[in-house]
Symmetry: none
Subunit: 161 residues, 2 copies
Amino acid sequence: MGLFLSTIINKVDRKGRVSVPAQFRSTLAGQSFSGIVLYRSFTLPCIEGCGMDYMQRLSDSTQELAAFSPEHEELSSLIFADSRPLPWDPEGRILVPEDLLAHANITETAAFVGKGQTFQIWEPGAHTALLADIRNRAQKSPPTLRLSPAPRPGPSNGGAP
Amino acid sequence: MGLFLSTIINKVDRKGRVSVPAQFRSTLAGQSFSGIVLYRSFTLPCIEGCGMDYMQRLSDSTQELAAFSPEHEELSSLIFADSRPLPWDPEGRILVPEDLLAHANITETAAFVGKGQTFQIWEPGAHTALLADIRNRAQKSPPTLRLSPAPRPGPSNGGAP
DNA sequence: GGATAGGATGGGATACCATGGGATAGCATG
DNA sequence: CATGCTATCCCATGGTATCCCATCCTATCC
């Protein structure tokens, strides 16, 4: 499965339609549902996005964990209640619901921001500001990124040629 | 199998009929029973809903777990006793029994709330209030949603053979 | 530099969905 | 057996989302 990478800014037309970046669409190619799933971020003025398979995984893990964590249960049901499956049209566009646009203060343009397994949709200005802020703080106290070990036992063509 | 996602608010007409959201209907497409199963929530002022297949699964797991968990046994028999299968009409509407509406304080409009494998039906105001509360708490203590690892193509599943 | 393909955008036409109300069939009751 | 009530079907309507087609832009290749 591919990853959502980079930031792409597209227009919101007067009907509320937005083109999902071709790059993102190809990341989701082959999934059962031809479209994306959107829900409002809990903590940020942006829209969270993912594919249906991701939602399915969320559902599966919820089933398992419900017994151990009521909060987890609560939280995931919040997501399910708030998330909209949005199929794209033949041109690769989706119709973004009004309240989602409002939550992220999106009017003219929308920034699709890759987050790896998922992505976010921002009002471009707001996202730029956030990035600048993060970058600023990172400069003062350099962060450390820790990778989990690569699950790569031999045979795959991972060796450097 | 599809998931129940998002929240859709529909009207209850003077005959007590409500349209089951087309989205939910298509989630249930292909099941033997053309309709939904409703029962009163034990803990909340809302109606629990699911497809007939889900009831079947509930029954199956009850058979298996009965020996280990008497509570599960009791709980599911409560559900079965209270459940009503409600077929939808050619337009996709169901006739919701009076006592269910009363239990959820539903009069004019009903909110169909996706919960993944199942869904709930709420009086829209009551549900909004509950969600706001959950969202509030989620905002204060940043939620950590932990997914079970993605079904990664390769050696990952099942540990080291 | 020019041609080309894929992607993004705009707008009109159409099908689908939620809703309302009348007509009809099924059921229980007296 | 008659009567009244309820549930189901059928048709009509308004609004919206979806499709389809045309245009434009940009990155790419020759």
